[in-house]
């Protein structure tokens, strides 16, 4: 028998979910933006590329990933992605063994250098990828293995 408190908690959560489902598409339209939900739900790099309508990624020395060899705290892993190539429109950061592989996506104009640093959560030791999407359609990536001592997703 669920308690009254449980039921109340449930209905509040459902209301929040409904509100989110109803409001978000409207918000996206208002902004003229397109949040690529499918890409952020994908489990593999191939699925991310498919969701973004991009080609098959190739490993490249021209793309650099900066990340620690060992991350003591998986909740805060500093990751940088950069490239010396011209004509890059978008840079992605992917963590292979996270529940969803795509962590962050950066889109930029020529006014910004193709180099971004941020911090991501890692569930467990995994390969981390930097992916550069070029304006000519090429997709290049670099990867690095990061060992995580304490996971940062479910903690």
């Amino acid at each position: 028998m669920p308690s009254r408190r449980d039921l109340l908690g449930h209905s509040a959560r459902i209301a929040t979910l409904l509100a989110a489902a109803g409001l978000l598409p409207e918000l996206a339209r208002a902004q003229g933006s397109s949040y690529p939900s499918a890409a952020f739900e994908a489990k593999t790099m191939a699925d991310v590329m498919k969701a973004l309508g991009a080609g098959v990624p190739a490993e490249s020395k021209d793309v650099t990933i900066t990340a620690p060899d060992i991350a003591e705290n998986g909740a805060v892993v500093p990751v940088g992605a950069s490239t010396g190539l011209a004509g890059v429109r978008r840079i992605l950061i992917l963590v292979e063994k996270n529940p969803a592989i795509l962590s962050a996506m950066f889109n930029f104009t020529d006014a910004v250098e193709p180099s971004f640093s941020t911090r991501v959560k890692m569930d467990q030791s995994s390969n981390v990828y930097a992916v550069a999407m070029m304006s000519d359609g090429r997709v290049l990536f670099a990867h690095k293995e990061v060992r995580v001592t304490l996971g940062g997703c479910a903690g």
């Binding site: 918000l27 952020f40 180099s115 971004f116 991501v120 959560k121 569930d123």
Partner: protein
């Protein structure tokens, strides 16, 4: 009401390095509360940066970006006195916009 984004932008010879720290829980949607129920994901989905009112970059994020997100990048041709506007919107539709002047 959310806390302001801390923005530091320093001009170099022909470019400016921008560092920012947003204040956001960035709940992953993987964690459970004490009673074993999943805590719903709550995270910044989109970030946009304008230089003197002109968009220079946007970012889309998933819940795997760390709590209180950090972001660093470089804007070419930006100089001291230029105005930066940083805006974000999260998956609940909350939004915030902050301004800083490049030093």
């Amino acid at each position: 009401m959310s806390e302001p984004t801390r923005i530091r932008a320093q001009a170099g010879a022909d470019k400016a390095t921008v560092r920012m720290l947003m204040t956001h829980e960035m709940e992953s949607g993987q964690r459970k509360d004490a009673s074993g129920k999943i805590i719903p994901a709550w995270f910044i989905r989109e970030v946009s940066v304008q230089l003197n009112g002109k968009p220079v970059m946007t970012a889309q994020w998933g819940p795997a970006v760390s709590k209180n997100p950090f972001l660093q990048f470089t804007i070419k041709g930006a100089k001291a006195g230029d105005k930066l506007t940083v805006s974000w919107v999260d998956n609940r539709g909350d939004r915030r916009s902050d301004e800083a002047t490049i030093a």
